[in-house]
Amino acid sequence: MHNRLRYAFFAFFLLFATILTVSGQSSAQAPAQNLPISVAPQNATPQTLPPAYADSPQPRTGLNIVVLDPAHGGTDTGARGTGGIRESEIVLQFAQQVRQALEAQGFQVIQTRMANENPSFDDRSAMANAQVGAVFVSLHVSSTGLPGTARVYVNSDLPGSSGGREAGGLIPWDRAQGPFLALSHKLGDFVQGNLAARFKGSPGSAQAAAIRQLRTTAAPAIAVEVSSVSVNDRLDLDRMAPAVADAIARGVTDFRPSYVVAGVPGGLR
């Protein structure tokens, strides 16, 4: 009788362990299906890195993907205006318009967040680092600055920015932006030029700042900051959105021929 009971318990245990293993595997695969990716119809080529790609004698432009990062989210509201305007909400609205403008130019857009959630800096960077031929655009609204202006920032110099990789060709994760700084500057200047043409008082070229989000991003990466949450009427910011979106889309399009991927992803030319 006791033996039968033991066998029954053992059988139940095996069944339970099997169910747990199977459900664990399926839930681990689930987020990949929910990844906020859109594919532009004119650019349906899948992004893969075949072995021959690295040795290809023909340089090729690799820019097809834009990772769009509405900053902050969740409990992190970012900048807050006296009128209750929250940076985290505004950038999400801006992202929708920027996304449409980029898709109209034939880019595939991946957003780091689609709702009021707050992925970590590293999680956001990882979305760009997992792609080949991507650029990273982080969207911000400042607390300060002349209202109605927009600035583009690239990361300030990092050790390894002179193309330095560690032994074995690896780029240190915490300084992943280093080898891409020259390209980031170029992308930043294109976008800033387009913004300056639309928003009087904006600088003519991209500026450097030690931005945490950009440091771990292994792709040409910029942060676009619009001024500001201190406006009295939220509509003032809403009205800026279409022109900001257009300027970013045109800037990235202008940058497209400059992004030559050869040897390793993000190789400088």
């Binding site: 992190d76 300060t144 600035r151 700042a209 030690a210």
Partner: protein, 215 residues
Amino acid sequence: MNTRWVGMVLGGLFGAVIIAGLYFPILKQRVKQTAKIQPQSEEQARRELTQSLTPTPTEARVKAKLFWTSNAHDGSLAPVNIDLPLSNEPALRAKQVLNTLLAGPADPELRTLPPDAVLLAFYLLPDGTGIADFSEAMASSIPSGIESEQRAVDSLTRTLAANVPQVVRLKILIHGQEVETLAGHLDLTGAFVVSPRAAQATIAPQPDALTSPAI
């Protein structure tokens, strides 16, 4: 025999409960006293550390150059010359100029740092790395944004570069801790370059130095 053992165990347990009941109020009082003493001790320790940086009578009045927001309202910084009694000792001198920077300019609109932020300590390491430890208000009261946060750091690094040449890099701590960002944007995990030339010469000991672009 069994009944006797049960009686002994119950008796022992009853005794333990009585002793615990008597000791508990004493223990509670001790915990309360320790909780009261703890923050005072930390503050006292901090004061003791900074006491060695009290001004010395040998300080000479010099024209210090401090960087606040310029009148042009374009987000740039402008130097302001102020007569200050400054020590020759680099760490104390750095503390003096940073405290003046925190106090702010005549026009509060041109401040670069939060008015309620306090410099808790400043240390200077032998390799020229200055460590500035600010109160929590430095992170919580500063206007959030890339522009405002970078301007705050630029005002610190440029003021140090102009007045304390011994400081090569600046590491910013918030209440004694390394934090990831100042207010959600600016990276505080590395040290900011104060003197680019000196930093180049001693690049080996500090691989995580970040360039402060305004210099």
